[in-house]
């Protein structure tokens, strides 16, 4: 659906995209994860043909996003991260207008989405809060029959309840065979929705894969109560961030050393044990470790 290879884009002396790669397969929800300024919005704007890449390849729905604007845009819908609306048009008018410009919208779905997002379409856009403006853009995009959704931090400003509605809608869209590129810096959102994730940083892709694959590469967190004082963990290679509090231990361990660590624990005697796979947050920090400060970053920065 989307193929980007070695994409470069500079604004003056700022390099927004620095050899970015991205591959979005049909039918998947692809998370584009990165902090502010990583190049997420620039990537999406290149895919929309709003920006022209300096070099590299960008293909979208089998076409060139810069040249085949009208043909491609009929088949996609876009939700910007920062939604501005014409102040004297009502939300309903904006939804209809954008839908018609895209080639028509599904009236039934429009009504359904308005109800689920609890959006009053008769209000003038200037009276909407940030969250409500975001809902206007979401309803406009989701009520169209398109193959691809480009969502640029689409939940900014939505409350948790509406966030849940948004997630439901995206899952439904996937069930109907649509593809979505979801940019976000909200890890839990991507974690909940994305089939695959591209982590980008400073305009470059640093990691791609399913969450399962990524988790496989990352450390497992173990928290255990032991029968006695822990032994052997301090010097064991592959164990990190060990915290001992009496008979309680907490540590992270590399996947290939997991077995060894468990043996060390059971040799003392385990009374309770929880382990959890790395959260996206932890994956994320692995790549941003050198930027963040504090203990946690230091703990996970060695990959």
């Amino acid at each position: 659906m989307v193929t980007i290879e070695k994409l470069n884009k500079s604004f003056g002396s700022t390099r927004a995209l620095d050899g970015l790669d991205l591959e979005v397969n049909a039918g998947e929800i692809h998370g584009l994860l990165g902090p502010n300024g990583a190049g997420k919005t620039t990537t999406i704007r290149v895919l929309l043909g709003l920006l022209r890449a300096d070099s590299g390849v960008a293909r979208l729905l089998g076409g060139d996003p810069w040249r085949d604007v009208e043909r491609l845009h009929r088949r996609l819908a876009y939700v910007p991260g920062e939604v501005t609306l014409w102040p004297n048009l009502t939300g309903g008018e904006v939804i209809d207008l954008l839908g018609r410009l895209r080639g028509g919208l599904d009236k039934k779905r429009r009504a359904d989405l308005l109800e689920r997002f609890e959006l009053d379409p008769t209000k003038k856009a200037r009276a909407y809060s940030k969250g409500n403006r975001q809902k206007v853009a979401l309803v406009a995009a989701l009520s169209c029959d398109v193959e691809l959704l480009l969502l640029d931090e689409p939940t900014a400003g939505l409350d948790p309840l509406m966030d849940a509605v948004f997630r439901e809608c995206i899952v439904e869209q996937r069930a109907q065979g649509r593809t979505a590129l979801l940019s976000s810096h909200i890890l839990s959102e991507v974690e909940a929705l994305a089939d695959r994730v591209s982590i980008i940083r400073d305009g470059r892709t640093v990691e791609v894969g399913s969450l399962a694959e990524m988790r496989h590469l990352a450390r497992v967190t173990i928290s255990a109560d032991l029968a006695g004082a822990p032994a052997g963990l301090t010097t064991m290679p592959g164990v990190h961030n060990l915290r001992v509090d009496g008979n309680h231990v907490e540590f992270m361990v590399d996947p290939d050393r997991l077995d060894q660590a468990l043996v060390a624990l059971t040799s003392v005697g385990v009374t309770s044990l929880t382990s959890h796979p790395p959260t996206l947050e932890e994956l994320f920090l692995r790549h941003y470790g050198d930027e963040s400060s504090g203990a946690q970053a230091g703990q996970v920065a060695t990959s």
């Binding site: 309903g92 018609r100 209000k123």
Partner: protein, 531 residues
């Protein structure tokens, strides 16, 4: 006065943001006023020549309506500033009202004020800061003008009254803008309302000044612009009229504060009514959207043009026949007219309407850039709408709208004139005289489109070009600029009708230049980044 906390910081912020434009405005104003006074003094060294010219000016309806009378025909100061005085005072008023809107409603609408409001900024600080900056800009303009006029050798008292008059008219319209900023929810209509108030004030004064001979001179006293005229710099120096203006400015400002205290942040005084839940069937193209966004403004402009046409046409019967001595003739030629006749009067007024139609066109087509930088273009361009098709939306409104305005003024002025003088032929000539302005207005729109496509950050070039054309037309002859320089302005090529001969050639090549600039601009827009 906790409601004023932070005013100083806001004033500094405003000055920081506007330092270049304010400095440029004040320098251009002071230099134009002083230089044109200097040129006039040299042009009319003898008292006899001044008496003659002043008599001519005071007899010509066109000049009375445009600039007002010369109250003392022996005063060199009154003659040397009769044009720049009126234009300068109005320019300061425009500057003041734009400053106030820019630092109140615009800031509120964009949400920037909210950012500031969360810091230690009192409730009335933004309005106060805006009024202070506008008043300060007026004060510097006025002092500079007074110093400039004294420097070229005009009497001190008159120069000071002239300068103070600029300040006072500026403050009055700063206060008016302070009120309209509370009434309207958006900056555009707020500025539009304040500008309309200035336009009406100008028009009322024009009617009064032009019909003094018929005993209706008192009408001028209904207008703040008329009060400025009645302060009579160099011709009696009526200081107390300036005091009257100050009193009115204070009263209007007080009203602005009362209104500001009675409304919520980001709200207008009128509550928002719910609108339609679905778009009408016609709202389905970028052009329909542009029309929807601009139709209110276009209707207001069209109504104004039609009204001005009625006034211009109504004054046609009071245009007298004037002395045809060579010197008076010479001066009228320098004013831009070719004959001191009804025709010259009409051609002059229609020329001004042509420039005003270009003002609408520039404002209207600049909407493209405004939509782009406020991210409103992005969702539209993300649909199946190509860039060029999108750009044509506001461009079409600008081109058709400016033409419509000229049709409106041509029809109304033509109809009223024809009825007044019982001369249907004149009506037709007036309509033609309005229509020939269209290609010139379009070429200014073309400049904006070219800037939009090629150098979008420097789109202000459009306003700079229009201002330059106006200055060339108004003051080029006075400064004896060569025709080649004055020909830079598209308006210099418009046939002066009625009176002059119609020529098709300039119409065609002005239209061709406009088309060329538009093609250039759209080509550039297709190739550049959006945002």
């Amino acid at each position: 006065m906790s409601s004023l906390v932070g005013t100083g910081a806001l004033v500094r912020l405003a000055l920081r943001r506007d330092r270049i434009i304010l400095a440029a405005f004040i320098v251009i104003l002071v230099v134009m006023v002083a230089a044109s006074a200097n040129a006039t003094i040299k042009l009319y060294p003898s008292l006899a020549s001044r008496l003659e010219v002043a008599a001519t000016i005071n007899d010509a309806t066109a000049t009375l309506a445009m600039y007002g009378p010369i109250h003392d025909d022996t005063s060199i100061g009154a003659l040397a500033t009769f044009k720049t005085g009126m234009l300068g005072a109005v320019a300061v008023a425009v500057l003041a009202l734009l400053i106030v809107i820019r630092h109140t409603r615009t800031e509120e609408e964009t949400g920037r004020l909210e950012l500031l409001g969360a810091t230690v900024v009192g409730r009335h600080a933004p309005l106060t800061a805006a009024l202070l900056v506008a008043g300060g800009a007026g004060l510097v303009s006025g002092v500079g003008t007074a110093v400039g006029l004294i420097a070229v050798g005009l009497p001190t008292a008159g120069s000071v009254v002239m300068g103070l008059g600029f300040v006072c008219l500026g403050i009055v319209f700063a206060a008016v803008a302070g009120v309209t900023a509370q009434l309207a929810r958006s900056a555009r209509p707020a500025a539009g309302m304040a500008g309309a108030a200035l336009g009406v004030a100008y028009l009322v004064r024009a009617i009064g000044d032009a019909s003094t001979a018929n005993g209706f001179g008192w009408i001028s006293w209904l207008s703040p612009v008329g009060w400025w005229q009645q302060s009579r710099p160099f011709a009696g120096n009526m200081w107390w009229v300036l005091a009257l203006m100050l009193v009115v400015a204070v009263a209007v400002s007080a009203l602005a504060y009362v209104l500001a205290a009675r409304r919520d942040f980001a709200a207008g005084l009128l509550p928002d009514r719910p609108g339609p839940a679905t778009a009408s069937a016609s709202l389905r193209s970028p052009l329909a959207l542009a029309w929807r966004l601009q139709r209110g403004s276009l209707f207001t402009w069209a109504a104004t043009f039609a009204t001005v046409g009625v006034v211009v046409g109504g004054l046609v019967s009071s245009v007298g026949n004037f002395a045809n001595n060579p010197q008076a003739r010479d001066f009228i030629i320098k004013l831009g007219g070719e004959h001191i006749l009804t025709d010259a009067y009409l051609a002059l007024e229609l020329g001004i309407m042509g420039i005003l139609a270009a003002v609408f066109g520039v404002r209207s087509v600049m909407r493209l850039r405004a939509e782009e930088s406020s991210l409103l273009a992005e969702p539209v361009l993300a649909t199946a709408v190509g860039r060029v098709r999108w750009a044509w939306s506001h461009l079409t409104v600008a081109l058709a709208g400016s033409a419509l305005l000229l049709v409106a003024v041509g029809c109304s002025a033509g109809l009223v004139s024809a009825l007044q003088l019982n001369d249907p032929g004149l009506g037709v000539r007036i309509l033609v005289g309005a229509l020939v302005q269209i290609p010139a207005a379009w070429s200014v729109i073309g400049i904006v489109v070219a800037a939009f496509g090629l150098v979008p950050r420097a789109i202000v070039i459009g306003w700079v070009a229009l201002l330059a054309f106006v200055l060339l037309g108004e003051f080029g002859p006075l400064f004896n600029l060569s025709q080649a320089v004055m020909n830079i302005s598209p308006f210099a090529h418009v046939p002066r009708i009625p009176g002059g001969a119609f020529a098709i050639a300039p119409m065609l090549w002005l239209t061709a230049i406009a088309a060329g600039l538009i093609v250039l601009g759209l080509g550039g827009f297709r190739r550049r980044d959006v945002g």
